[in-house]
């Protein structure tokens, strides 16, 4: 179990262009994979200028996507009871407590559930591991995940299993 980048392949940079009628198109370029984020930004700016010279459409968006795929020896098979429609809705809050972020993890393991309740205790070890990974990240406190508005998530508020289309 290890998702990893294939470093033999180049970075994929994608541009979205839109015309005067609101129609859009999409095009890709491939960049050297040894670039840093800052260097990639320089390449994006250079390509944007080149595209403007070639096209009179509006260059609307530029994205670099890093893809991580499973290794060939990944043999895990999801059990028959797995169901992506079932979710574990985990809500995080920022330091103010007013802004949050909700993450819905598909097909929560039945072992984390508590009979008679949809709520998963915040002390559950698997939930604590996820909360730590989100709030502190791999780099440490202050570098965790954020709300859509860019506020740091500081704590978990609730975790609820949402039984949608749940298998018996």
């Amino acid at each position: 179990m290890t998702l990893a980048r294939d470093l033999s392949l180049p970075l994929q940079a994608s541009f979205t262009l839109s015309d005067n009628n609101g129609k859009s198109s999409f095009m890709s370029f491939w960049l050297p994979n040894a670039l840093t984020v800052t260097e990639a930004g320089t390449y994006i700016a250079s390509l944007e200028a080149a595209l403007i010279a070639l096209s009179d459409a509006r260059v609307e968006r530029a994205t670099i996507a890093l893809s991580f795929t499973q290794s060939a020896d990944y043999t895990y098979v999801a059990p028959a009871t797995s169901e992506v429609e079932r979710k574990l809705s985990v809500r995080f809050l920022d330091a103010s407590g007013f802004y949050g972020f909700k993450s819905e993890v598909p097909s929560p393991r039945f072992t984390i559930e508590v009979d008679g309740s949809n709520n998963v205790p915040l002390a559950n070890p698997a939930l604590s591991l996820f909360a730590d990974a989100m709030v502190n990240g791999p780099i440490g406190p202050g570098n965790g995940a954020q709300t859509y508005g860019g506020r740091d998530l500081t704590r978990i508020e609730s975790a609820t299993v949402i039984h949608r289309n749940r298998k018996p």
Binding site: N20, M27, A50, A57, R61, I64, A78, T81
Partner: protein, 157 residues
């Protein structure tokens, strides 16, 4: 400059149905740090979900400084195909709504001739030079930065 960085994980259940979760990360997260994020979150998510975690993708969205509006005759169903190659592979880049070429042209032959004419324009030469210098083929080889061939076609609506 990065406008947004999101990390996406794709899950697959026993019926091969898929679902994705998205996580917002700080914009100053490096490519190397994103790899660390993926390992860390994959471990945590695997403890919570019984699905297979089949892939992850980090998407950096960049701030652009280009033209604010599209030209009055712009049309993203028109493409300038730039054919490039090297010793082992050939590929094309399709630039939508090409500038410098009349948008009412139809027919691949006339379009091809016009496209070849457009390649002589200094601005086009310079832009294609940037593309061939800065970018690679899909499998990571260098383009040959000369002998451009192009055609100009209207996409089928």
């Amino acid at each position: 400059m990065i406008a947004r960085l999101t990390l996406h994980f794709t899950f697959e259940d026993n019926n091969r149905k898929r679902a994705e979760i998205r996580i917002n990360l700080r914009e100053d997260t490096s490519f190397l740090q994103v790899s660390q994020w993926v390992v860390s979150l994959e471990t945590a998510l695997s403890q919570l979900s019984d699905c297979a975690v089949i892939r992850a993708e980090a998407r950096y969205s960049f701030v652009l400084s280009g033209q604010p509006i599209a030209g009055p005759n712009s049309d993203c169903t028109l493409f300038l195909y730039v054919f490039l190659g090297n010793d082992v592979e050939q590929a094309s880049i399709a630039v939508s709504s090409p500038r410098s070429l009349p948008v009412d042209v139809v027919g691949p032959y006339r379009g091809f001739r016009l496209a070849m004419g457009a390649f002589q324009l200094p601005g086009v030469q310079q832009a294609l030079g940037v593309i061939t210098t800065d970018t690679l083929t899909p499998i990571g080889n260098a383009w040959i930065a000369a002998n451009y061939l192009g055609s100009y076609n209207r996409e089928i609506p």
